[in-house]
Structures are given as structure tokens and as C-alpha cells.
């Protein structure tokens, strides 16, 4: 079976500085893949380039279609969706409008189903559907950002640091939902600094350092790797885990 998303030998540069150097990655259907690594390793850059926000050199194929000539809007239409690090919600519009716009590219009839699905994943959003997005708490905003992305019925959802700045109890909630997406037929590419939580739900993982993948494999193997444990997971203090 061919991969849903396949990225081969990708280079991304800001001016003269190469932020991503020769990276290859695959995400299969119904798979959760995570990229872990420190801030500045190039994870966000890679996601943004795959989405078409940044230009890249190399080959990216999504759902058997070469994406080189597609812009962001075309990629959305093809079933690729990104929840960016800063969420980029429509702050002065209410929850319902945000979600409705998430379904901008799909037929009206399908959008009704999407609403139901998103509200059942995030019941909290239904309670708040008339509230302005900008007045939601951080956790709710993350849910709304994910919900908005899911409204377009994507085949692959890319999540950039969904746990950033959230309370541990909310983080657990968010990760539980990410796990549920697989059952709903959505593949996930997850960029995360909270390596421990990410490795728990992922099938496979890539470790990124200074713009390159230094390690990849089954999430279970990566989690037990000595080097990863030392630099990303930290040796656990009693009761003080990151999640």
C-alpha cells in the first residue's frame, strides 16, 4: 500500500540558512506519526512547508498527487489540514462561525455531518458555540482549532504543538482525542515537544535535530532509546512527569 503522505529529500531554507536538510518521511493511512525534537530543530518549518506556507525543495506526494504546484488552498481541498502552532482562529467570530468556515471547501450537506462529529469529539465546543473564539480559554481554543480543521473532513491532520502552554489535565484530554481520530479514519502527523505524551499515542516517530532526522522507527522503540530518553524525556522525577 502506498503511503498517504510521502516527503522525499526535502530542503527548506530561510534566505541562506537551511532550516531543514534532506528530510524524508511517510505517513500511512490510519496511522499516527510524530516528529519530536527541541525547539528550533525545524519541525514547525517542515509542517508549514508541507502545507504550502513555506516553499521547499524536494518531492512531496499526498494521496498519490504531486503537491509541487499546489498552493495552500488546493492542498486543503485535497484533504490535507494543518492546525498551526498559533492556532490562527478567527478571534472575533463565534465558535459556530469558525467551525462553519472550516467546512468552506466541502458541500453544505456534508458539513452538517461534520458539525455533529466535531461536537461529539469536543462537547465543550457545543456548549460554547455562540461565544467568540478569542474569549475561549487556551484549551478550548486548541479544541476549536482542531475542530475547525476536522470540519473539512481531512484525510491527514497535521498538528503543531497541540499541548503548548496548556494545563496538564487539558493536555491529557487533547491527546486522548488525537488517539480517537485514528478510529474515525483520520491519519495524524503530530509535531510535539512533549515527547513522552506524543510517543505514547503514536505508531511511529521521527526524532529531529538541527534540521535533520537523526532517528526513526516504531514509537515504542524510540521511547526506550537511551539517547532520546536523556535529551527529550528526562529521567523521571518522582510524580513529576510532564503529563
Amino acid at each position: 500500500m502506498s503511503a498517504l503522505l510521502s516527503v522525499a529529500e526535502v530542503h527548506i531554507a530561510y534566505g541562506k540558512v537551511e532550516a531543514v536538510r534532506g528530510v524524508s518521511l511517510e505517513v500511512g493511512t490510519n496511522e499516527i506519526v510524530t516528529i519530536i525534537g527541541a525547539n528550533g530543530a525545524g519541525k514547525t518549518t517542515l509542517l508549514n512547508a508541507v502545507m504550502g506556507i513555506l516553499p521547499l525543495q524536494g518531492r512531496t506526494v499526498f494521496a498519490s498527487e504531486d503537491m509541487a504546484t499546489l498552493d495552500i488552498e488546493d492542498r486543503v481541498a485535497a484533504g490535507l489540514s494543518l492546525v498551526p502552532e498559533h492556532r490562527e482562529l478567527f478571534a472575533t467570530m463565534n465558535v459556530e462561525d469558525n467551525l462553519q468556515l472550516g467546512a468552506f471547501r466541502i458541500p453544505k450537506a456534508t458539513a452538517a455531518n461534520s458539525f455533529e462529529r466535531v461536537y461529539s469529539l469536543f462537547p465543550r465546543l457545543k456548549e460554547r458555540r455562540k461565544q467568540l473564539a478569542g474569549t475561549l480559554s487556551g484549551g478550548e481554543q486548541q479544541m476549536l482549532a482542531m475542530g475547525r480543521a476536522l470540519m473539512g473532513a481531512p484525510k491527514l491532520l497535521m498538528l503543531d504543538e497541540p499541548s503548548l502552554g496548556l494545563a496538564p489535565i487539558i493536555v491529557a484530554d487533547i491527546f486522548r482525542t488525537i488517539g480517537e481520530l485514528r478510529a474515525a479514519g483520520v491519519s495524524v502527523l503530530l509535531v510535539e515537544q512533549n515527547a513522552q505524551a506524543a510517543l505514547q499515542i503514536a505508531d511511529r516517530a521521527y526524532v529531529m535535530e538541527l534540521g535533520e532526522f537523526v532517528l526513526s522507527g516504531a514509537a515504542r522503540d524510540i521511547a526506550s532509546n537511551q539517547r532520546v530518553a536523556a535529551s527529550y524525556l528526562g529521567f523521571q522525577h518522582e510524580g513529576g512527569s510532564a503529563v
Partner: protein
């Protein structure tokens, strides 16, 4: 010296141009016009490009300069040289009056406000009897030195370009100073600058007046160059054109003003004189082509021609490392007492009907690290803003070293030794790490704008930069000291903010999510630094979500939920507190 060399070369070239045999006098007229426009644009570079205050009204200030000398020399027979200070004074006073209203405007209101008074003043100039209404005032005497009258364009050329060169030098000196850093920080919002003692309305008014005085100088020269003054060159169209010049040249660059003036003035002249030949006398054609060319130019180089040009030149100024042996006097620290350094007593903040901080009380003692934790929206950052004076409390008491600060502005709170970092990093991305950190030492320097312009601030400046360099070394970013802050990773930028806060020589350090974006080993290094600071006598209050980091580091923890304090205690006690587990930590912890 590296900065001076191009200036000297440029001055020499400009001095030699009139001496070139056979140069058409018409070229000299063009250069005069370029110089006059460059003066106004230079003010706009400081005001708009650097300070972020867009003004369409600069032409009106030229009008104040020109009409002042026009009225005084023609109606009262005052000597032109005597009217120079008066012209500058009138422009300056007009700027103070308009500025007091204008600089308070925020966002887009400011440029729009300047359009409004720019047009209003234009109509005022053209309706007032003593300014000659639409006809203006003619018969203004030329500038003269002894019996030598500057009648020809070549004669006034020297006066104009000396003015341009001196203004450029003073402007660059100003930008490269304590005041300059405060001005450069304005564009990124006022909150960060004010947290380090910069009086932002005053800094804005200062650039506003500076730009107006430069425009007044240009107007004064213009009046004696044209020997007449009428409202047209001081109207809204001219105001827009000056802004063009600044933007086309490169709005953030002093030399961009001169380059932009050259491009726009020459372009207009060429179009006016040659287009009629090509297209057979169609009037207004030059406006059409000028407009189209302008739009095209902006599409090719949206940030202006000067930076675009500089990118092609392999010129790179070598930066001098500050001499770190110079020191600033340290803050007097009271001997260790058990009294609280920071005391919140039923602090309360309401936004409309929402209570963001609900009667919260806690304290931070000397040599103590206290962590403030809680879900998003629990009121942690609002609490920080109440302590640092960004927000005014709706009720309750907040005291630093026994002094009430709940109504004090940020500039006063920082004087007491409270320094902070921000959840959303607030650095000036196009300033170097060193310059950003030096803003932290703002209150520990004393040189003003005028001293900086004439380079009388160097001893003071060297000490400030030395302090900044020392703090950068302390947080371990010496390798990045000359990089632009915007080029650093978010995690490093947070560390730069800590260095900036340390430059205050604080008693109490407020850190808003300092560990976000750091990897495990970097977090441990940060924790070690904070412990070292505590052992050196500093107190730390921090907001952080990484529980491993917090539980390890903090002496005490305060937990907020929905604006209310639900728990306070040692890390061990907090970990076991059922209410905290339910509201925040969850079962996983």
C-alpha cells in the same frame, strides 16, 4: 569610524559636485530640491520607519517653518538668520500641540489623524489673511553672509546640503544610543518598553517634535530658496509625497531618506520634462506614469530601495564588543529579613463582568522562588500585569517592599526592582541581542536625547552595553550577542528576555513561562541559573506549565483556578492536594 567613513566620502562628493566644470545649473536646482525633501523624509524615517508613527502631515510643519520666516522677514524686516531659530521653534511648538493629541492615538487612528490635521492646516494656510491666503507671501529676502547674498541655486546648495549632512549625523547618533533604543522599541508596542522604565508617550512626542523641527528647517530653507511661500507645497499631496520618499528609500534607514528623495525628485523631473516629447504634450501624463512606477517599485522592493541596495553590497560593519570591565552601581539591597518582598492582599481585577483575578492573596519573600500555576485563563498573566503596573487593580492591595504599587505605572514599579519577562516574547526583532538586552538597563543610564545627538553620552553608553554583555554571558548567549533577536529560536528569545530583565538589577524577577520551548537539558540549565540567582539574593515569581520543572525548582507554589487561589504550599503538598489534582494536574500526575 566605520560608520563615519561613508559619510565623509558622501560629504566630499556632494561638496565637489558644484565645482565640476560645465555642470548644468538645472542639476543644482534638482539637488537643492532633493536636499529639501531629504530633510523632511529623514524626520519621517525616525518617526515612521523607526518609531512606527505614520504621519501624513509633515508638509504642514514645513509650512510652519516657511511661513514663520516669510511673515517675519517681509512684514517686520527681521534678518533671515534670526528667523531660523524662530522657524524651528514655531514648528516645534506646533508639533507639541498636535503631538499631545496625536501620539495618544493608537493603531491606524494615528496616520488617519495626521491626514485630518494635515488637510485642516492646509486650508487654514490658504484662508488666513496675514499669510496671504491662496497667493501666499512673496519677496522673501535671500540668505546672506555679510554682503554675499545666496541668490543662485548654487549658493543655497551649500546651506541645504550642510543642513542635510548635519541632520543625518545627528539622527544616526541619536538612534545609536539609550534614547535611540527606546525609540526603536516603540514600534513593537509599548508594554515591553514601559516595563523597563521607558516613558513611551514622552519618547513618541520626542520623535514627533524631532521630525517636525527637521521639516521646519526644510521649510525655512525652502522659503529662502524660492523666496516665496504659498499653501500648495504644504498641502496633503506634499505630505503624502514625503511619506512616499521615506517608504521608497526604505523607511527604517537614514540614508534611505536621501536616496528616496533622489529617486522621487529625479523621477518626477524626468517624467515632467521628457514625457510630453514622447507622447505629444498630454498633460497629467506624468502623474499617471509616476503613480504606475510607484506601484511597480513597491512590488519589486516592498521594504524600500536602500536595504535592497545594501543587500547587494558586501559591506558589513564590524561590531565592537563592549568592554565588560566597566560597571554600573548596583542596587542597594536591604539585609535579609523575613518581611515579604512582594505582598498581594485580596488583589482583584474585573474586565467588564468577568472577574479575571478574584481576591488573590499571597506573598514572595526574599531569596525565594515561588511558582504560580493553574489552567489557561486562570488569571496568572493578569496577576503579573497587576503586579507590574500594566493593568490597574479593581480592588485590593499590592505592595513591593512595603510600598503600595496597585496604582503605580510600570515605569515606577520597575524602579523598585521588579523586572519581568513576557509570555509572548516581546523583543525588537530587528535589533541585536545586545541592543535588546541593553533596554533592560534603560533606567540605569542618564544621557538624554540631545547629549546622544552630540555624542556626549559615550561613557554612560559604554557602561550600559557592558552591563548588557555581562548579563548575556550569564545566561549563556554570548555567541549570539550580535545576532538579530528575531533570528533566534523562540526558546533562546525567552532567555534573551531573562537577560534583559537581569539588566534591571532586580530584587524580584517575574518570569512568564520561561521554560516553554526549551528541551530537557536546557531546562535544567535554566533551573540552575534561577537557583544561583536566588542564592545571590534575588527572588523569583514564575508562571510555568512544565510540572517537572516547577516541582523541582520552586520553594512554594500558588495555584490559581478561574481567578481564585485554590491552594498554596510546598511542591509536595500541592502534588497531593485533591483540589489541585481535580482542577489542574489531573490523574496522570
Amino acid at each position: 569610524m566605520t560608520q563615519r567613513l561613508p559619510l565623509i566620502v558622501f560629504a566630499l562628493v556632494m561638496a565637489l559636485i558644484p565645482l565640476v566644470p560645465g555642470i548644468p545649473p538645472f542639476w543644482i536646482v534638482l539637488l537643492d530640491n532633493i536636499g529639501l525633501a531629504a530633510l523632511v523624509a529623514m524626520g519621517l524615517v525616525l518617526l515612521t520607519g523607526v518609531g512606527g508613527l505614520t504621519s501624513f502631515g509633515q508638509a504642514a510643519f514645513c509650512g510652519f517653518g516657511a511661513y514663520t520666516t516669510a511673515v517675519l522677514t517681509t512684514a517686520y524686516g527681521v534678518s533671515p538668520w534670526l528667523t531660523l531659530p524662530l522657524s524651528l521653534l514655531v514648528s516645534g511648538i506646533a508639533a507639541v500641540l498636535l503631538g499631545i493629541v496625536t501620539v495618544r492615538l493608537s493603531g491606524h487612528y494615528l496616520p488617519l489623524g495626521t491626514i485630518a490635521w494635515g488637510i485642516g492646516l492646509f486650508y487654514l494656510f490658504s484662508k488666513l489673511e496675514f499669510l496671504g491666503r491662496n497667493d501666499g507671501i512673496s519677496g522673501i529676502p535671500p540668505l546672506a553672509i555679510g554682503s554675499y547674498k545666496m541668490l543662485s541655486p548654487g549658493a543655497i546648495y551649500c546651506a541645504i546640503w550642510i543642513a542635510v549632512l548635519i541632520s543625518a549625523l545627528l539622527t544616526m547618533n541619536l538612534l545609536d544610543s539609550r534614547t535611540g533604543r527606546a525609540i526603536r522599541a516603540l514600534r513593537r508596542g509599548h508594554i515591553a518598553a514601559e516595563a523597563f522604565g521607558v516613558h513611551t508617550p514622552r519618547a513618541k512626542l520626542l520623535v514627533f517634535i524631532y521630525a517636525a523641527v527637521l521639516a521646519g528647517l526644510s521649510g525655512w530653507l525652502y522659503a529662502h530658496f524660492q523666496r516665496a511661500a504659498n499653501p500648495t507645497p504644504f498641502g496633503p499631496q506634499a505630505g503624502i509625497e514625503y511619506l512616499f520618499i521615506a517608504v521608497v528609500g526604505g523607511a527604517g534607514y537614514v540614508w534611505g531618506a536621501v536616496l528616496g528623495a533622489g529617486i522621487v525628485v529625479i523621477l518626477k523631473e524626468v517624467l515632467q520634462s521628457y514625457l510630453p516629447y514622447i507622447f505629444g504634450g498630454q498633460s497629467q501624463l506624468e502623474t499617471i506614469v509616476f503613480g504606475i512606477l510607484l506601484v511597480m517599485l513597491l512590488q519589486l522592493a516592498p521594504s524600500g530601495v536602500w536595504p535592497w541596495l545594501m543587500a547587494w553590497l558586501p559591506l558589513k560593519a564590524a561590531r565592537k564588543r563592549p568592554d565588560t570591565s566597566l560597571t554600573l552601581p548596583a542596587r542597594e539591597r536591604a539585609p535579609t529579613t523575613s518581611a515579604a518582598l512582594l505582598q498581594l492582599d485580596r488583589a482583584r481585577k474585573q474586565f467588564g463582568g468577568v472577574t479575571a483575578v478574584n481576591d488573590v492573596s499571597f506573598d514572595v519573600k526574599a531569596r525565594e522562588i515561588v511558582a504560580l500555576i493553574g489552567p489557561n485563563g486562570a488569571g496568572k498573566s493578569t496577576t503579573f500585569n497587576l503586579i507590574t503596573g500594566v493593568l490597574t487593580a479593581t480592588g485590593g492591595k499590592i505592595a513591593v517592599l512595603g510600598k503600595d504599587v496597585e496604582d503605580a505605572p510600570p515605569q515606577e514599579v520597575v524602579k523598585l526592582g521588579v523586572a519581568r519577562t513576557f509570555q509572548h516574547v516581546k523583543l525588537v526583532p530587528d535589533m541585536t541581542v545586545l541592543e535588546n538586552v541593553a533596554i533592560g538597563a534603560h533606567l540605569r543610564g542618564h544621557s538624554g536625547a540631545v547629549a546622544s545627538m552630540f555624542r556626549l553620552d559615550r561613557a554612560d553608553e559604554a557602561k550600559l552595553l557592558a552591563e548588557a554583555a555581562r548579563q548575556i554571558e550569564r545566561v549563556g548567549l554570548t555567541d549570539q550577542i550580535d545576532q538579530l533577536a528575531g533570528s533566534l529560536s523562540l526558546g533562546q528569545q525567552r532567555i534573551v528576555e531573562i537577560a534583559r530583565a537581569l539588566c534591571v538589577d532586580p530584587m524580584l524577577l517575574l518570569l512568564d513561562e520561561p521554560a516553554a520551548g526549551l528541551r530537557h537539558m536546557e531546562k535544567q540549565r535554566l533551573a540552575a541559573l534561577l537557583r544561583q540567582l536566588r542564592d545571590g539574593g534575588m527572588s523569583v515569581l514564575l508562571v510555568e506549565h512544565d510540572m517537572g520543572f516547577v516541582m523541582d525548582l520552586a520553594d512554594r507554589i500558588v495555584v490559581l483556578d478561574f481567578g481564585t487561589k485554590i491552594a498554596e504550599g510546598t511542591p509536595d503538598a500541592i502534588k497531593k492536594n485533591p483540589e489541585v489534582i481535580k482542577a489542574y494536574l489531573g490523574a496522570a500526575a
